[in-house]
Symmetry: D3
Subunit: 269 residues, 6 copies
Amino acid sequence: MADLPTRYFWELTQPEIKQQLANNPLVIFPAGSVEQHGPHLPTGTDIFAANVISHSVAERMDGLVLPGGPLGVTPMHMPFEGTITLTPETYMRVVKETCVSTARHGAKYLLILNWHEGNANPLAIAAEQLHREYDMTVLTVQACYVAAELYGDDCGGLTHGGEIEALAVLAYRPDLVHLDRIDYSSDLELGHKMDHLRRTRAYQPVLTDVRSIAPTGWYGSPEHATVEKGLRMLDDIADTIAAEAKAIFAQLDEVQGGVAEVKHLQQVR
Amino acid sequence: MADLPTRYFWELTQPEIKQQLANNPLVIFPAGSVEQHGPHLPTGTDIFAANVISHSVAERMDGLVLPGGPLGVTPMHMPFEGTITLTPETYMRVVKETCVSTARHGAKYLLILNWHEGNANPLAIAAEQLHREYDMTVLTVQACYVAAELYGDDCGGLTHGGEIEALAVLAYRPDLVHLDRIDYSSDLELGHKMDHLRRTRAYQPVLTDVRSIAPTGWYGSPEHATVEKGLRMLDDIADTIAAEAKAIFAQLDEVQGGVAEVKHLQQVR
Amino acid sequence: MADLPTRYFWELTQPEIKQQLANNPLVIFPAGSVEQHGPHLPTGTDIFAANVISHSVAERMDGLVLPGGPLGVTPMHMPFEGTITLTPETYMRVVKETCVSTARHGAKYLLILNWHEGNANPLAIAAEQLHREYDMTVLTVQACYVAAELYGDDCGGLTHGGEIEALAVLAYRPDLVHLDRIDYSSDLELGHKMDHLRRTRAYQPVLTDVRSIAPTGWYGSPEHATVEKGLRMLDDIADTIAAEAKAIFAQLDEVQGGVAEVKHLQQVR
Amino acid sequence: MADLPTRYFWELTQPEIKQQLANNPLVIFPAGSVEQHGPHLPTGTDIFAANVISHSVAERMDGLVLPGGPLGVTPMHMPFEGTITLTPETYMRVVKETCVSTARHGAKYLLILNWHEGNANPLAIAAEQLHREYDMTVLTVQACYVAAELYGDDCGGLTHGGEIEALAVLAYRPDLVHLDRIDYSSDLELGHKMDHLRRTRAYQPVLTDVRSIAPTGWYGSPEHATVEKGLRMLDDIADTIAAEAKAIFAQLDEVQGGVAEVKHLQQVR
Amino acid sequence: MADLPTRYFWELTQPEIKQQLANNPLVIFPAGSVEQHGPHLPTGTDIFAANVISHSVAERMDGLVLPGGPLGVTPMHMPFEGTITLTPETYMRVVKETCVSTARHGAKYLLILNWHEGNANPLAIAAEQLHREYDMTVLTVQACYVAAELYGDDCGGLTHGGEIEALAVLAYRPDLVHLDRIDYSSDLELGHKMDHLRRTRAYQPVLTDVRSIAPTGWYGSPEHATVEKGLRMLDDIADTIAAEAKAIFAQLDEVQGGVAEVKHLQQVR
Amino acid sequence: MADLPTRYFWELTQPEIKQQLANNPLVIFPAGSVEQHGPHLPTGTDIFAANVISHSVAERMDGLVLPGGPLGVTPMHMPFEGTITLTPETYMRVVKETCVSTARHGAKYLLILNWHEGNANPLAIAAEQLHREYDMTVLTVQACYVAAELYGDDCGGLTHGGEIEALAVLAYRPDLVHLDRIDYSSDLELGHKMDHLRRTRAYQPVLTDVRSIAPTGWYGSPEHATVEKGLRMLDDIADTIAAEAKAIFAQLDEVQGGVAEVKHLQQVR
């Protein structure tokens, strides 16, 4: 069904979705957030990024993009208006109930594509349960880290409100990016230092207020972002994720053949 | 701030939202669903209807449209692919946490605008708690019933997948309506009879499977729906709701002045 | 077993109940509340009304009256002593666990007979789950609205503490009605206006404090209520509900034959 | 207010309750169950016993009898029709929400009067929280054990369906006791042996099915129970409990003066 | 496998546990607490007592000691540093999830051995569910009461911080007992009086602050406790519990044969 | 109080803990698991490692080691006997209630020291809430990754049951390590490959059954582990963590000064 007019689940009709799930039972759950992003980016930046990348990946992998947002877990940004946060428990429920609904209709492979770091822990718990309890083959991709690996050097790293985020929105809805309003970026050095502190594998201090990292709520240098570069970044990220995800799903298929005993044990429960 | 470029919260920047909440602390929560709507309408029909009407009401009342969807409570439609359902408990959590986030940033008046009947009971419970526990002044509008009152006679009543729903989507995204694919409508008479059974004030039988009402999942006669009529319906509904809501909010302001004692009692809790 | 001495479950012995469930697997859940009802009516008014009407309906339909009360969801009346309220979540649990217990012993048809408006939303959610998860055929009747339809014109409408409520208690326990203590009714006009506001199908403002409607906690004109009229009202309501409920249960039996697929889908869960 | 016409909360009017709580802020929560009790006793036996004793105690201590039932936690009796059980969690919620409602209206002393052993553990947890979180002074009385101490020797011990239980119902509603239907009592010796096993202080085996104790669901010798003896037992139990409870409440008042520090600590939470 | 080097589950290897569960599917769950115990005993006193007695019982009954602690439910001791408390709900979850894990690996007999009174109610609820839902044969032993019966006369009764508790720790880790630091025991008479009040079968006042019983947090006369006496007490308690538990498990096996019908009923759920 | 005889909370007396919390309000929560570790290591390996490292860190930082275990979240290892798992929700509750208890007694700095990867996500959610809701300054250290960084090259990486884990237990209780029983290690290459798959920052496939990684349950080459090397590793890890943690706590103190506004916002909740 190369001729699906869109990969967004909610824009398709029932017969289209039924056919597509039969063709390829792959669904993509975009995970983002609605939260303040400075004076130049919309509050929906994170979910817009997750949606547009998910769609590009869905085209490459022949999948459907679930209505996975728009909200996420972001108490960190609540000091600023424009932020809406779910609790981790509610977010886990939404993720699970959404994916289980499609599993009941035939979805078997689930790619969770996340752009918002605050979602990572609840997503991991939900992903584990979707695999164990509902038998989905699940891969979570932190798309923002993929972006950082590909474009971080060129764009001053992955920062809240910086060039990488501006590019993602430019690739989705250029009219929502206001480069002419860029103002009051927080100190870049502090931001990078504190962000690095949070992203260590071994040491994870709790930094619960974004102002510890960026007193003004954002930092970065998105001045030179363009639509063209945004679209290029989008393509590069989607190519990378699609290739990697295909390889990992293949590996999972291979190793998860022999889990019959676990399932038997669970029935004792 | 008559010059806000949009009323959708997630398309605005942090300073725009901050300013708007200070100007007029009114937020609108659009409640809909993603569920099968036959071969001619997108699965997002209900949330698209809720969003587009909310936006028109927001323009008339100077409010903001919250990211209130896209999902709802719709186990009734699960027999058909294309449906995603939340449990009532999860839905109540999402509604409450979304609205509380904005209450913490200044929102005081909450208009819940619902297009999907399955949401009505959990919305009512959430609305009550948002008022009692978080002090918001809350009004829920069943926009689909307003549509039925205004356009039901002309459009063959409010039916799942019928002309009123087609008009709502035409007013939002005409490209998502496929009038050329209209097919296999269920028996109109059965549909009306069973729908009427469910909408009585005094007798409420549990009809949990849409196929009891419409064996093919939908019924109606949307053949003659047009964009022009859709936009007219949108305007009429928005005008009606805005006028009525203003009057009711004014009444609520008047009568809810004297509840100091209740609040005092609650502190004992 | 036309000779059951009573229809109240808790007054019967185990062999009587076993036999009756085998004869006709119909149970009636009376839903009411314990809350302030002015100086002339007992706090148990709502549950007394629900019980006595349920019993009359049970006689007509050959069913059993479950121990369905006495409490309900009534934060609205907490400003006045004499009110006891459950949270919606607790109430839903009580309703479900009560009915599931009897389903395990053979009950198949469930008539929820409600006299208290605050219970309506949680009852609807519970009813839906009792049907979907436990396979009961469920009908909820808002008995207070049936009363209003039959006796509203004659009795000054359905008001909190008014004639209709007095009649219901007179039909149950005349000694608990103190017509000689009728005093400080709130303004009738305000009451009707605000009550009407709450009972619109399309617009539902949250009025969480009864004093918005009736500053003194009640309003109405129950002066002329008599036991005789109460018994007549009881008969009329029970006749109407029994006839209507029989017809609806027959319709449900007819349309809910073909839900095998839904049940299959649920097993995937 | 020695002239209150009844001590049952739900039979009184709002002004009567308000006045009584001001006079003496003591409420009694009767805890029982609705469950099979053989061919001769009603399923409501336990809650009838709890209610009638609570009322007699309320008269002696000048208190109010809350609507504390009728249901309890009794999975043990589910093998027989006529039983309705709540889960421990739901029961704890009902107990707490009921008592908190009255605490908000002034109740300070809470006497939980229990006749059903299956309620004991959840009642204890709820009682602890009502004291700690809502500041009530709480005493739980296992009234069935008081009965056993006073009348056990004379009545063949406290057995399910035996003379003590028959006497309690005779004191409440003689018409519900059918001594002429006494039949198929289980082996007395087995019953006593197994019951004794369950009521040891140090060793508590889980006996979750009443048929382990009494294969027919009940055992005992209630043949000689009379209304007169029932009323005498009621008086004796009420006298004993009222005297003991007064003494204990006095002791609690004395020792619980100095808990200011605990409360301070809790605020840190 | 008389040659298991230890009975502590967490000190054994996977093959040892697998073999032992196959040999004898008996597990012992030690229930205790970490809470202040005066100046002379460690805060782990209760869990140390539960562990060491469980181990001696496990040797006698050929069972395994589960990792059942160290925490318990002890809000009563929170006024003093050194106390850590779980809520009843969390504790029930821990107990159930621990035991279910081993049930899935073959454990069938569960002996809950408790030394801390605050655990008794949640343990009873969890035990009931482990039997009903997971089919374990369950016996709870209040080991502290067994100790009181055997050594209470000789040791001044069972008191918080008194000789019985000192003996239990001496039998486990003599280096953690500091008899030279015994100081500020509360009044013995008050302690005994209040403790007695709490341990009545029929009357259970809520005493939620240990200072009501012992203003200094402990009372007793542990001056003459010795390791030798501790070891003797340990042996006596373990002998008694092992003998009694064997007899009770045998009785349970006998009477719980015929519960097929209950299980069938539960499937209806 | 350099002369505390131990840093284990449960081995100290109430006055010692009170004094220590006053001296330095730092507590360390050791997070581990009880799960199968092959034929040569005890099932308690992970919690033993967490405890012994926590104690060494506590000595260096003058803190207390909380009773933080022994259980963790490890459904992955349930296919093998010897494993006990908590659900993520229960584990989060245990972590929070334990730490809140000490916060109420004065603890302000919380170091969570984790050795079991399955705990990482629930720990992160709990840590965030302990900071936000209870005001603790929180740092989580994945001690197993610190070990891998320091000793991975020398020990064949961090593998389940490999040399690093054997060293950790040797440093704690050499008698529980059975190097003579080393047998049936899974294929090292597969193990490393799959483990690497799980530990990528950007791609996180769900591998829920340890047998996907190691069909026999473990892999590695612990043959040459010695007590001496274990103690050296323990010292090196503790030195590294203590130094790093001191620096991070200092940074947190610096940046978290200005969060007054967040706290104010939370009160609106």
